[in-house]
Symmetry: C2
Subunit: 504 residues, 2 copies
């Protein structure tokens, strides 16, 4: 894309002053050490050194630090060596495979939150975690420390149920259905969701096509206590904010240490005061959890951690070899989700997954035959009624219909070149196409998958319809679809394998 | 210290542009990802994102990037996603304890040199190295790759001898003596030294009090080939420059991964074309190498690595429980060093260490009874003559005398409060006092240790004399000395220990 340029008065997230080499020797600091700059007020900042860009006797100070210290150009200030935070020693202990104490973990989390650790140090911390890990006791301390960096919500009654999906699968629009069924059963479930990070559409991305997702902690509490549930955006509530800071360092390294991932999920559940939690673990090729064995390890970790945190945790390992349902993208997923609440039995995969997950939650709450009861609540219209109460409480229209949701006006059908069976639908390619079409920012962008795995397709029949809000993005999505071949069509015989190269 | 403030037009070592959150979603980048900014020319830069500090449709660009791309404020530029370097994948492989291929190691070194890896990524790399290490084959590839990032010097003849000390011990002024003896024996030894990083005085810090240390590669070659030796500063020659970039990331973490340390030393020896190398490993409490076991491991690693690099490496494990000789600080060390070359037998520890090290080098060159021969060369004045040739070749005065070197005019004697024996001299405290006095920047700053370990001292007798170039720094050094108690004085009986709490 093309953007207009403006001057950048660079003032990075890591305030740094520039000092001459000789002055650095004098002060006793090296590159990336810290100094305290003192004027009327003082600030601790990182050091960058040079023998050409700055004169001896001068300290070059960014505007933010000048403001913080109450100093201006031409002033004389005191610049002295400042020790690195003690938590750097704990980071080194983790490099040495040591088990960290509660207080050390709290100090690391606190120092990240307060910007007292540099990117270099946080990167070393995450790398050490990636390699050497933490045991469940350390992760429990880590989880609580992360939760305590932000808002902690306290409800006036218990139990507080929550539901979380590890994600990684496109089209997973079950959350509003699960919340509506559970709340309709009289169980409180204040569900906070996220927006897409690398996916085509997070729960908040499609929910905000029909109601507000940005609500504050007070409203979350009031609506949940009165109606039994919400489906709001967690990002607006300052829950475990240190987690977001860490994600920015994990992302470029392409790592997500197990300890960090578990603490990240669970700290937000601790922050909303959850007493009971169901975790959906979508398992299949092209997702975060490729095999059943990996899924079981996650489940074991989450349940063990729940025990340490005094939270009842159960896990649902769910099928994720292909997208859930047919729709991918904000408006399209919202339409599919609401149509099921309105009574549609289609797509069965969405109905089934939502009812199974809601059913486990009902079981956890002591309601017999939870899955059967969940389906009854959905089919009776009770879930729809509860859904509409929540929508209205979140500022949505009381006359909302699934048919109100209209995708982008530019569309393209991808048709099969041959007859056969749908042998595979590649999650990552589906996501790439929807993103190329503009999802999740363009609400009307996305795609409909017409045929799912195992279904028969005739040459010339539609496989996908791609929707976009502009012709340019439709073109981009079409090109992406042509490049990736998101769906494999094969005859019943996929490949003939000889038992021996010479034959028999 | 107090410095004048000037505005800092911050332009960090990591060029970064600021983009609006929505534009980031559009481009498909997250914080710390990379984009390519294209005007008449293009540049790859890191991304910082915000939804408050920058408007949609705008990219905030630092001046250096504007210049690189040939763009100005108000221009419209293309900003597109740019993949992270492939070497990030190799860093992840090292996190997973994999052995890296030659090409992967070369790519990492090249990407660090070219600023293609961010601080976050380099920190992760060093942390992975610290925890998972490298085998000798990987370290050999690493060493060669580092050497190839800078100048490679080729001499017109072989063998080329070199000498290196792991350092960490104050007062270690033997290098010019070793070089002079070895060169006087007809063996070429183009010795490059460093300045102090955390110590009170590196070899170059004291050599530059009597001749130039900054010479270029051509002059190094010419002087070495003609006279047989130099004692110049390695920092001026662009040898393995990537090493310095890495040190800036290691330092704040307080780590020095074995693989990095070995490659750092050896890459500079490869760059000067050394065929034979003696490494001095000072071993004792308060140094980098606290025990004989650790010293032997270093020696084994260095010799194994030498074999892979086709370099004949030997090691000398030397005594380092107290400073070498009596003087610490640039002028004082220079004076002590030159007085020995002039014929002084004192301090014996310096004479002995220099002759032992030179002797091993003579042995390596096939000269029988190297240590005996080294002492003869020193005592005959042949070493002094060679020393003066080198000094003059490096721009020093032909009539140089040790007595020319005069320490700072402010001095203070630290006296013993009691009679007894010198039980310990603490290396780290000695360094701290000399640095507080102004070393190594103030050439006349430092200290003389009057009594060494095991010597008898009477109450009121001088232990140390501290020298400084200003009263303020002398005061600071005196306070440091009072605080640290750098020398322990005890009776012959240090502590009486009962064999049982109840007695017999």
């Amino acid at each position: 894309m093309r953007l207009e340029v403006r001057y950048y008065d660079v003032d990075s997230s890591e305030p740094t002053v520039l000092l001459h080499d000789d002055d650095c020797v004098e002060i006793g600091v090296q590159e990336n050490d810290r100094v305290s700059v003192s004027g009327p007020r003082s600030a601790i900042v990182l050091v960058s050194r040079s023998d050409t860009l700055v004169e001896k006797g001068v300290v070059m100070v960014p505007a933010s630090v000048m403001a913080k210290c109450g100093i201006a150009e031409g002033d004389t200030v005191s610049v002295t060596y400042s020790q690195k935070p003690d938590s750097v020693r704990s980071i080194r202990r983790k490099m040495d495979r040591e088990k960290l104490e509660k207080e050390e973990i709290e100090a690391i989390v606190e120092d990240i939150l307060e910007n007292r650790l540099s990117k270099i140090e946080i990167s070393a911390w995450l790398t050490a975690l990636q390699i050497n890990g933490m045991d469940i006791e350390e992760i429990a301390h880590f989880t609580k420390a992360m939760a305590n960096t932000g808002t902690i919500i306290k409800f006036d009654r218990e139990p507080v149920f929550d539901f979380h999906s590890l994600g990684g699968i496109p089209g997973n629009k079950i959350t509003p259905i699960v919340v509506s069924i559970v709340a309709a059963a009289g169980i409180m479930i204040p569900k906070l969701s996220s927006r897409a990070i690398s996916s085509a559409c997070g729960t908040s991305d499609f929910v905000e096509t029909f109601c507000d997702v940005l609500i504050d902690a007070d409203r979350l509490k009031r609506v949940s206590e009165e109606i039994g549930g919400v489906f709001a955006w967690g990002g607006g509530m300052n829950l475990a904010p240190v987690d977001d800071m860490v994600i920015n360092i994990e992302h470029p390294l392409g790592i997500n240490p197990r300890a960090q991932m578990l603490a990240s999920i669970m700290s937000k559940k601790v922050a909303v005061g959850a007493t009971h939690l169901l975790v959906d673990i979508p398992t299949g090729s092209g997702t975060k959890v490729p095999t059943l064995e990996v899924a079981r390890n996650y489940a074991r970790d989450l349940m063990d951690l729940g025990e340490k945190l005094d939270m009842h945790v159960e896990c649902a390992i769910t099928y994720a070899d292909q997208p859930v349902g047919n729709a991918v993208g904000p408006v399209l997923e919202a339409r599919e989700c609401i149509s099921i609440l309105e009574g549609s039995k289609h797509p069965a995969s969405v109905v089934e997954k939502a009812c199974e997950c809601a059913g486990i939650i009902l079981d956890m709450a002591g309601i017999p035959e939870g899955a059967v009861r969940a389906r009854e609540i959905l089919e009776s219209g009770a879930a729809y009624e509860k859904f509409m109460q929540i929508v209205v409480a979140q500022g949505g229209r009381p006359d909302l219909k699934s048919s109100d949701l209209v995708p982008g006006k530019y569309s393209f059908d991808l048709v099969s070149m041959k007859s056969g069976y749908i042998h595979a639908i590649h999650n990552k390619d589906i996501v790439a196409i929807a993103k190329a079409a503009g999802a999740p920012n363009d609400k009307g962008a996305g795609l409909i998958i017409h045929l799912k795995k195992g279904q028969r397709v005739e040459a010339g029949e539609k496989l996908l319809t791609i929707y976009a809000e502009s012709e340019a993005k439709l073109k981009r999505a079409r090109e992406t679809a042509m490049k990736y071949h998101p769906m494999d069509v094969e005859g019943m015989l996929i490949k003939r394998v000889s038992s021996s190269p010479r034959g028999i």
